[in-house]
Symmetry: C2
Subunit: 250 residues, 2 copies
Amino acid sequence: MQIDPSHPRFKSLKIREKLVWGIKKGLTHPAGLLAHGRGEAFDYLLGEKTHDFAKKAIEAAGAYLISAKNPIISVNGNTSALCPNELVGLAKLLNCKIEVNLFHYSKKRVVIIENYLSRVDSKVILRSNKSSKIIFPDIASWRKIMLKEGIASADVVFVPLEDGDRAEALIRLGKKVITVDLNPLSRTAQTATVTIIDNLIRLLPLLIKKIKKLKMVDADNLKSLTINYNNKTCLNNSLKLISDRLKKSG
Amino acid sequence: MQIDPSHPRFKSLKIREKLVWGIKKGLTHPAGLLAHGRGEAFDYLLGEKTHDFAKKAIEAAGAYLISAKNPIISVNGNTSALCPNELVGLAKLLNCKIEVNLFHYSKKRVVIIENYLSRVDSKVILRSNKSSKIIFPDIASWRKIMLKEGIASADVVFVPLEDGDRAEALIRLGKKVITVDLNPLSRTAQTATVTIIDNLIRLLPLLIKKIKKLKMVDADNLKSLTINYNNKTCLNNSLKLISDRLKKSG
């Protein structure tokens, strides 16, 4: 269906259409649309804007990712459908791989997403059929399947739009988790090492730009950026902002 | 896919699955899942609970619907997939019809929904092929198609999960609009005569119960319930509640 450009929520409706297109192509799972809608609501409460707490988290995320020995990018259907070029660009910049990891898992969908991202650049895609699978039994979803040469052996995992259950498991495994989540109250947001409270579409170009700058910074200064970063403060600032905005709207 | 009952968001994931099932049956449009996810986020902020402001709105909604000359229930794919029995039960109680009205319109989907609800009770379903269609050109979506013997001639429209654009148009047409919306900031919520800030699944049984009670009340008292109801106060109370809850979470 053609959406009328005069509709006041035209932009947001267009992004929705992209995810609906993703379903038709087999990239996105229908339940992923629900998760996106949930994020949309929080973005709405944030005023659809990248705030200072997100900028601070982006800087810390950049520092962690550059300093990592084995960074990895964990993508799902939504992230792949929405930002294929930016995700591949980020992987190239970090010289790391992208691993497909799904909550609503099917072998077929993993391959469809791998192929879709490979069209941008196949070299950065870690193929599920070329790496052993490791199953972490304490995760209550199919996100428990991870690749040996990917997430399983990574020290820093960049995983936008994560499930809370797996975020906790990755932290228990001693990994640093960098996530993107619009809901500051989610278990993922509360658990991750760095939580960027922002819309993935808005933030990825900013993260890429920041990493390019941080590549000029020496290891000691990168280290202090990670040490001085306080995720709890960023989360609290985002909650305060939403709370104040709601009060003003009343 | 089977969702593991040990997953902390099991209940909410099961409702999502119902909507995904709705897509397979042709009832739900994929974009409806996004809208549901958006509502889910606000429900989460409300603590997934029916608050006093919602109970007040339910009472006013009941009074308006009982006092109406030509009430109508406007349903879409989501509402039909989630609460078919309760919607039909409400229509029978009010002795009114249910009209299918869709944002992502297709003739085929209208008929699928009409058939689905007819399986509960066909007498309360206003069939789109048995009433003339009226098109309201100032609505920027397919919700502009309304049935002459239905919404077009109704004085009170009960429309859970409405689009803001059409809510405004219905009000301009002089109708009373009773809506259900989990987002107190949405244009629908801000525009409607009565906005019930609650989850449709939780509130429909409460509304039905309240209407049964209000049927014993005389016309003057019903009138005063509608006159004394202040939608703006309810919206503000819901914003305050969410705001306070967010602050406490920080």
